[in-house]
Assembly symmetry: D2
Homo-oligomer: 346 residues x 4
């Protein structure tokens, strides 16, 4: 029986432990991937710190982590989509393929979805077994640390390009990894003015490099008056709400031009109170609730943007560490002293 | 000096009075319309009862009313769009024609808009002077009582057809005049299942005639479980929020299928508290804040639907009265014992 | 070994023969359907008469036919989508599930598609084996003769609703089964004026019943001047080209309003010569080449329209015959003395 | 009476002459612009050489030219949109404002359009009088030689961005000024692979500088096999047909991915013969006939792209000459030894 090292949530409660576990067996439609690089997602931090959401959703023992790239080393007997030697990342939504959503092009909101590293074992390990449909063959020109974070980049791509953004002004609220990726996508897509709003000095320091034209610290500068002042008083065409903050959401609706568009991806932790009359109806806005990525249209967009080098994600990969340095990595993220950390199992 | 009778808000405060006033003079780009029929809008009820909004917005003396049809009897010297004898209704947004919105196809959200019967004198009178651009030539096949309410019907058309609705299931919340019109539009457009939710017995009694397949009294039946039960548990494709009620808005988000669409036209009187995480983001919804009508794309749709008889609005014209019966008409509306009342100046 | 009767193209050349063949065996992901009703498609006529296309594409012996409904009587060991007793019709494109098109919501244009009754054995038989993904569970409220022709109806739905059509004027060129279905769909969707153009007296006689407002015999009346005369000289918003005739295509471009939309579904037998400068570019048109149906978004639309009775297809089912009357049915179709013929295997 | 120099088509026939003519008078809604820079359009070459189109459309004497920028020096008494001192370019379609197209957001296809420099006097002069609605206030940060060619750039913007192009592969056929502009727009908008096809060595030499990734000489390399080879055999997502060549149009349809989009802007001089069955219908394509620019949505996009420097047009302004060098400039264009020539009246 072959074993591997893995980071595992062994029991309910905060923390995680390095363990030696069995290498997973592949089913007939699954593939075994030898992992080269793994990104740490904000969701993983919630699982690590064991917040309320995690305590309800995660059933230990569980290997978590879901942003990765690796090489296929074994395939189940019925697998036809990939073969050993393929360089693959993974879509993390394991969709049923049978429900109304799956059959109408919306597998990412599947009724019966299971999520890698949440509902089934994930990627903080040397190997992972995934359904062949979830394996995404990746161009070798995309280096492992970037290829590992295609999944969250897909979220950013889907949210940012939900309507076309070329020649439009954009305000991004919240510069976590996805917010910063969105800045770069908006820039690559020809947005004409990109405002980036974020209170953390550390995160804000990455904004210009990713393409922001105007960087705003909301603790010092009122983003509403600043953005209106810089858009002839009209406001921006597009708001990307990436923070989950009620204040940011409200400011976002205020700085939108009438007839503008907001993509909502940041997840407020509780209900928000909005003056929908003044700020949505009279403003004739369109709001998009965004989650996941289109399977697999968004992945093709991801590939096009990265392989063509229209978007460069390396500036936000702030730390490259060994899988064993997991606790240290988590501490950095909790202290907001890292944007994206990539771990290497060897 | 010629005079005419008019219903006028003479001084700040509740009520209105019948007065004899001068017939308006037309400017070089204006037309004088002899009014044949006038609809009473909910906004007019607010002006009549002098609610908080009205007390801030209306500057008496003011002739109010804005839903009408009539015949052009005089045109200013530079007028070219219409001529005496034309049968016209009116778009009530007087747009500036110069701002960003006007120049990008969104005159209905003009920065400098003035509204007939609100910011300038309106239609509860024998004559009205309007800019030629606002005069909408109407097909004589549409009878005056229907032609008079094309403007609110335009709101309903714009909200209902904001995305295509054919072969989709729809829930309409709120069966005031616009909600009932929306039911008829959805039916004409081939919506497959139309749910109509309204607490007032009187208003609800019109739902089937306008085309509703399922009529729900939310005081007796929980609309959420009812609608889910009748849509295989998935919910509807489209919600039309026409009530302005927070409870209805929340129920609307709950009964929407994931990936569904809500048109928000009903105006909540205060901020609403929404669980945007569960009910918008995770549900991958699109929300449209709607006001006004496209100038004049929506008016062409209005004309097509009415002239082709795909939609019949006569069932909701519950009362036909003389202009002098204005107070009586207002009382009926305040008591919710009328849907649409049409007044005749002679 | 169980056998069944089937209509089979036994050898290259015109005609087809009734034969006794083995009941097909189901693979692990296939289902066996006992057929209740089968529609005859124009494609089947081409196979029967053995035209040039058929002689290159069909490899006898082949059971043809692909429009049907029946009951699942057996399922392969890995089948999960349907179960014995289910009432099913079928999507006829067997898609690979792996190519770019399949993975981006366009399985109907799959790179490796196989078509039922063309590339693999079809439905002119007592039983058919199909992949479970192709089985479409059908509402029992839809009677067999209608349920059998959901597949071509899906083509018509996809072509007609490619953009929304509510409150728009439409001209349908060609009143074969799909053209007549399109008339009914346009009517159900609230098209305001429906012109139907067809030279065959027989086919044209069905137009009004399906919902056409204006029925034109192009051998007697010039459709261009007629349609322009009835649309204030502007032309129609939408053209549905269902004939495959070059003359109809040209007339269609001429009667379109500037900025209008054409859906092209009829298949010209050779290249066409178009004045693209005057009739496409200067007219600012949008043209859609249409084939197949979205898998399975269109099928849900089909179900909604039929189960809600917004569309009634029974008027165009002109003949109900036994499977054994196959030659007689073909003769009727070749002589254009039938619209849609439904065959019953028992 | 004040006079000015102008280039004038004095009589029917080839050529044009420098003349001294009256400075135009402004009507009440017109503005007088002192011209700073003028671009030469391909249409102007047709007028100069007096081809068949020109001989039917132009009524000499006529000042031609329509791409310009200048400063407002006088305004009519009813003008409110601009004021003396404003830096303005011009939309060249003088729309009626009253027809169906004007009233539904499509003034660029107005029924009664007049074109500057074609139907009324144009810009090869020291001054031009234009309706105030046609004056487009331009940001001073855009230098005159670029500001002068915003009008054709608007065509390129409208054609290129007719659907969103970010993360998509594109093939541009024809590298005249508009084709080269389209390459730059596609690049700014984040197109992932840009193929540029043009037989002229001179024009092709600008392609890389404008952003093309692959530059093809169709006289040496078959664009069909080349593009298919560089897109995994699938073809490109978008084709921009800017050449007006039948061969290019056919190649464009061949290199499109199934489900792809073509923008047709190049104007074939005669009808083209297309295998619409194989290359449009079976390929499930969308074709857009493009002319003009949205008034004025496209102009705002133009401004955003140029003022933000996302697009730089200076590389294609190959010649800067005096107005008096007009014949020399025309010769360069006829010999295809210039891309865009800008003339200065002083």
């Amino acid at each position: 029986m072959e074993t591997m090292k893995a980071i595992i949530k062994a029991v309910p409660g905060p923390g995680a432990s390095l363990a030696n576990v069995e290498v997973p067996k592949v089913g007939p439609k699954e593939v075994l991937v030898k992992i080269k690089a793994i990104g740490i997602c904000g969701t993983d931090v919630h699982i690590y710190t064991w917040d309320e959401w995690a305590s309800h959703r995660i059933k230990p023992p569980r290997i978590f982590g879901h942003e990765f790239v690796g090489e296929v080393v074994e395939v189940g007997k019925d697998v036809t989509l990939v073969k050993p030697g393929d360089y693959v990342s993974a879509e993390t939504h394991i969709a049923c393929g049978k429900c109304y959503y799956c059959r109408t092009g919306n597998a990412h909101i599947c009724e019966n979805v299971k999520i890698l590293g949440v509902d089934v074992d994930g990627a903080y390990a040397e190997y992972i077994a995934i359904p062949e449909e979830n394996a995404w063959k990746t161009d070798r020109s995309i280096p492992p640390e970037v290829a590992a974070i295609q999944e969250p980049f897909g979220n950013a791509v889907h949210a940012t390009l939900i309507e076309d953004i070329t020649a439009k002004s954009v305000a991004v609220f919240g510069l976590g990894p996805i917010g910063l990726m969105s800045v770069a996508i908006a820039k690559a897509a020809g947005a004409s003015k990109i405002f980036a709003v974020e209170p953390s000095d550390y995160r804000r320091s990455f904004a210009e490099k990713m393409g922001a034209d105007f960087v705003i610290n909301p603790n010092e500068t009122d983003p509403i008056s600043y953005i209106l002042d810089h858009t002839s008083g009209l406001g921006v065409d597009v708001v990307l709400e990436m923070s989950g903050s009620e204040a940011a959401l409200k400011a976002g609706l205020r700085v939108l031009k009438k007839g503008g568009v907001a993509s909502l991806l940041g997840i407020p932790s509780k209900p928000v109170t909005i003056d929908i009359t003044e700020n949505v109806i009279f403003k004739y806005l369109r709001l998009y609730g965004i989650n996941g990525r289109l399977m697999f249209r968004t992945w093709y967009q991801v590939q096009e943007l990265l392989a063509s080098k229209r978007v460069d994600l390396t500036p936000i990969i702030t730390h490259r560490m060994k899988l064993e340095q997991f606790d240290e990595a988590m501490k950095l993220l909790i202290d907001k002293q890292a944007v994206k950390i990539v771990l290497y199992p060897e």
